[in-house]
């Protein structure tokens, strides 16, 4: 299962996939000769959440809209910061503890832009990109998670 958008010039890469993610592959997709910096963020499935031992996560998405929101996010980033490449990859389906669920990489001439844009990208992704995860525990009933960022984003929208 894979849904993707890759811009014509290759500088914007957004991928939703059930395959394993690799940090190196994502940072590689934004490396360019004119860039002096690549900032990256990796989200990992952690073993404990609120004291409960996690077995695995199951992700689902509204893929068409998720890609459209990621593209808009890419445009917003380019309008705010001088960046070269933006690449965001998100896992779908089952993700085991210790595996990567999301990778973001941003390249820019200087580190400040790359770091700020990468930080902004993960915060915005958590607030508005239609992707959901269900947490399966070792000894508890599964639960759908909700990002705190979603509600604050709603208040701004209303």
């Amino acid at each position: 299962m894979e849904h993707s958008f890759i811009s014509g010039d290759g500088r914007r890469v957004f991928i939703l996939t059930s395959g394993c993610l690799s940090l190196e592959k994502v940072t590689g997709s934004v490396s360019a000769l004119e860039s002096g910096a690549i900032a990256s963020f990796c989200g990992i499935t952690r073993k404990y959440n609120q004291g409960k031992e996690v077995k695995f996560l199951e992700y689902e998405s509204y893929s068409e809209m998720a890609l459209s929101e990621l593209r808009k996010l890419g445009d917003e980033i380019s309008n705010r910061w001088s960046v070269e490449g933006i690449s965001i990859w998100h896992r779908l389906g089952r993700v085991n503890v210790g595996e990567i669920s999301v990778v973001i990489a941003v390249s820019a001439v200087h580190r400040k832009e790359a770091l700020e844009a990468c930080h902004f990208a993960i915060d915005q992704l958590k607030a508005r990109v239609p992707i959901w995860k269900k947490e399966y525990f070792v000894a508890h009933e599964p639960e759908w998670r909700e990002n705190l960022e979603f509600q604050s984003c709603c208040q701004q929208r209303e």
Partner: protein
Amino acid sequence: MISSVDWEKMATCQVTILLFAAAKEALDRSEIKLTIPNSPCSVKQLIHQILPEKYPTLTEFLKFSQIALNCEYIDKNSDQLLQQGDEIAIIVPVSGG
């Protein structure tokens, strides 16, 4: 001459409601094909009136969800009118990342 069937088509509008995550599980389906009899109908009417009446289970979810019309977030109280074939997604609180 317009047949009675055509009249019916003109007065109704069929839209698709997409459900995800907890809302999908609660209704045990990922989409609802909804025929709205008294078109035109606004997003606001759909969210605050039609859906809660037809699917009471959705009421709680609608309170905490955002709405997307054809892949774009839209205000739940929007007066925008629905068109034949529109896709309305109930975006329950997201949890990506």
